[in-house]
Symmetry: C2
Subunit: 297 residues, 2 copies
Amino acid sequence: MTPTGRAASSATPHARLSLNQATIKYASLPRALDAAVQAGYQSIGLWREPIAEVGLATAARLVHESGLRVSSLCRGGFFTATDPAARRLSIDDNRRALDEAEAIGAPALVLVVGGLPEGSRDLVGARAAVAEALAELAPHAASVGVTLAVEPLHPMYASDRAVVSTLGQALDLAEPFDPAIVGVVVDTFHVWWDPSLEADVARAGAAGRIASYQVCDWKTPLPLDVLLARHYPGDGVIDFGRITEAVLSTGYDGDIEVEIFNQAIWDDDVDTVAARVADAFASAVVPHLGSAVAGGR
Amino acid sequence: MTPTGRAASSATPHARLSLNQATIKYASLPRALDAAVQAGYQSIGLWREPIAEVGLATAARLVHESGLRVSSLCRGGFFTATDPAARRLSIDDNRRALDEAEAIGAPALVLVVGGLPEGSRDLVGARAAVAEALAELAPHAASVGVTLAVEPLHPMYASDRAVVSTLGQALDLAEPFDPAIVGVVVDTFHVWWDPSLEADVARAGAAGRIASYQVCDWKTPLPLDVLLARHYPGDGVIDFGRITEAVLSTGYDGDIEVEIFNQAIWDDDVDTVAARVADAFASAVVPHLGSAVAGGR
């Protein structure tokens, strides 16, 4: 048992482990920071909504006082609207998200690029819109020193969440830009099935484009809301050894986030979840980290 | 209204349209053949279970008497068992399926290759088992003149149905074999999201490996049982023009199957479904067939 009598954790969180706040969705920013610090984390991944609740200046101060690194800010994106006004709003909102990332010290803004526009079947057009949005945002990303991190989402989300479905496709989109400005997210849940994964991870690493590595597990049957299908590492079928070794062998030295959308986990006690994440990471991922140095580039 | 007073259809089924029996799952083989003939189809895709119900000799006679072409037999596969006895049963069963395909005049046996074995995380090993099974079955496929048609399934089925998730991966598996012996299935539902689709369809066509082209639509939200997420062409977000033109431009001259797993469609009247399939195909697919010649290679 921990001194506070809260949920027991047998594992001190690994130095490179970051608790993504989506895993404890109902916690406010102060509560999330406190949970991470109390559980012994050194890093946290933040979301924009809890930051907005307290205001950006307060959020930046709280993060600074916590002593935690911020591994990423979630999330920007949603670039595929065809209506010019909606498109403009999206670009402006992403500029603000980049400013917020800078303010809280997040090295990367995670981008969920958006699905097909309502009523559209134009996948090619939607993908072109993503490329255009990256080009529009790149100068601002460069000026604030935050990487636009394109996240390929599992193909089951291609129609309504993200028309970028593979790591290779994300790398093609990133290709025209400096790796410090446009990178990619490798999230095991989204890419574990991809027969090109090792090759594409190697390509991403060689280009210095892995802006974030996120781990959680895949298990079937899927729940009715497939957005909530994610599990603690080790509770499903993903081979974290194979993927983690591929990512680390490229020289990736950043934090590793655990980001889980799962109603049962959201309904659980925040400190219990923080401890369980550390335990799951310790057994499913840490054995594959070798002697890799601690995160926090 | 048709002369029989059954469900109205404004469209005579296109000469290349094949009614896959899975779309009318609860119909016996005689009932399915009758529905296809009455609705004016020239081709049908059959499944092994309804054939087994009447016996292979009777099935072959009924098919012959119907005058219908058989576009494919579903299905073989499930190659990923690690237990040697289970693996042997699977190979033997696939040999019998090839014999059945020959007996009913199906040019191809559709293969759903199987998911991860129970308790396994070894995706690489499961994929290797598929390659080995194809090599074991290839001589028998050659001897009966039936193509082993590897079907890449949507990545959301990678863990429990098919560790072959992309057309490119299916083509890599087929590569060592003569295209008459190992081909691939292009099913819009499974591959519509793939950013490499046009390139891989071109590759498949150039190698003469498209053994079957199947169409149905994708729509979200997905039902709780994601196996039943398929819809009539035109009811979802798939751009049948783009994909159909890519397939046909390779010279593909076979039948085009409509295969829909959907509880509401299964619960509907068989003749109504046969008519609706023809109508949906007429509006969503036929405009993209150009002056392509009729099927029935």
